[in-house]
């Protein structure tokens, strides 16, 4: 079991394009072709992940620079999201005994929604995914193949049947296409 004081998260810096906006930070991961938008709180915490500061220290530093309250729970939530997004050198696992808190819990506890750390991510599209579908286009996916968008499918329809099933390419006019 890791002790709280021993966790020293370190932000990843290699193969990233970072753009600072007025209220957010945009990060493009060149390795995974993913783009992330960090809100103000998440960006602030990410900035303090220097590999030397512990979680309580990060929460104290973030609190000093933020107009909204930042406690250890807020930092843990941010670290979990940053870890999942591969924006930390090592994935941080919340120590056993440390309560699991979700964004909803923080809001319920009185934290303003805007102060809750949020990392929103997308996968950058392949060129063919960002284009209009042409039936039987080159390299298209045949029916019954897993897909993510309709433009990948030879018959132009990527359709999800049931909530648990992955979307698959189907024939035309079978329902709503993704």
């Amino acid at each position: 079991m890791k002790k709280l004081g021993r966790v020293r998260p370190q932000a990843r810096t290699d193969d990233l394009i970072v753009r600072e906006l007025s209220e957010e930070v945009l990060v493009y991961d060149l390795t995974r072709n993913k783009a992330h938008s960090l809100n103000k709180t998440a960006a602030l915490i990410w900035g303090f992940c220097d590999g030397r500061s512990t979680v309580p220290q990060i929460s104290r530093l973030a609190q000093e620079q933020s107009a909204t309250p930042v406690n250890d729970q807020v930092v843990w939530l941010a670290l979990e999201q940053l870890g999942k997004s591969h924006l930390l050198r090592n994935r941080i696992i919340r120590p056993v005994g440390e309560p699991q808190i979700t964004r909803r819990d923080l809001v319920r506890l009185g934290l303003a929604a805007a102060a809750v750390p949020v990392v929103f991510s997308i996968v950058a599209p392949l060129a063919v995914q960002a284009a209009t579908c042409v039936m039987n286009a080159p390299n298209c996916l045949p029916n019954n193949t897993n897909c993510t968008t309709s433009s990948q499918c030879c018959q132009c329809c990527c359709h999800q049947t049931g909530s648990g099933n992955p979307p698959k390419c189907t024939g035309i006019s079978t329902g709503t296409c993704l």
Binding site: E24, L38, A124, A130, A131, P138, I172
Partner: protein
Amino acid sequence: MQKIDRLGWAAGKSFRSYGVRVGIRVNNPEVLDQLEKYFPPGWKPAVSPVVDRLYSLKVGGSSSRPGVRYFHLLYGNVVRLARTADIEELFTVFESDLQLYVAEVTRHRLFVHAGVVGWKGVAILIPGLSFSGKTTLVSELVRAGATYYSDEYAVLDRHGRVHPYPRALLIRQNGNQKSSKCPIERLGGVAGRKPLPVGLVVVSHYRAGSRWRPRQLPEGRGVLALLANTVSARRQPKTALSTLEHVASRAPVLKGARGEAKEVVDSILHKANGGRPLISQGGSVHSKTNSPK
């Protein structure tokens, strides 16, 4: 020399589009002139035989042997793109592949998969995947008096301004995934000529019965919504982020499901107009319905 180079090509031409050099060769010179209408808007003839991508189109047809017909073949460099008995289908694949290639590799402009119209000196961008209803919305906006810019790509320069990409609208018929071309004049619209700054981005998809109640995305999320539809997002992410940042920092990005396109047109134009009352080009005042919060 590749095997394809020995097939006996009768004619060819090269051209530039957005700085990308493209060549096309055919075994039947008559087809060459027909192909020009499938070139991207704004192409210019080139004299250099050196190209970035070479298309080879072999027209098939009847054979000297009875009962035998040859397929029409299309290659992009050495990869076969299409093999079909329908020459129009071949042209469609050629057009799609060519436009996508230029959109992906050009360094002069950033191509976002989006419909675009101009309204009162600003552009309205409607990014979205296939089947999200971009063309339908663009058609309705044009019918309401907006200027047509594109129904396929928003062509952005480094300052975030949109340039026209005035090809005919590709309209899908009800229940049919094949599309037909519709010149903008047939809708009573006009095509824009000058680049415009972006005034509004509408990220929407059609959902039957939905009421248009969009929410405004924060700037960063707005950039990601545009990036998700950017053709060269992976090839040149730095340029893409920088350009899209220009767009999202100046224009609100609205997101939400919509019902029928006709029902949201006034609301979109009203928002693009900075919330001022709408006066169409004919002089009549549009009613304001379902105005976004």
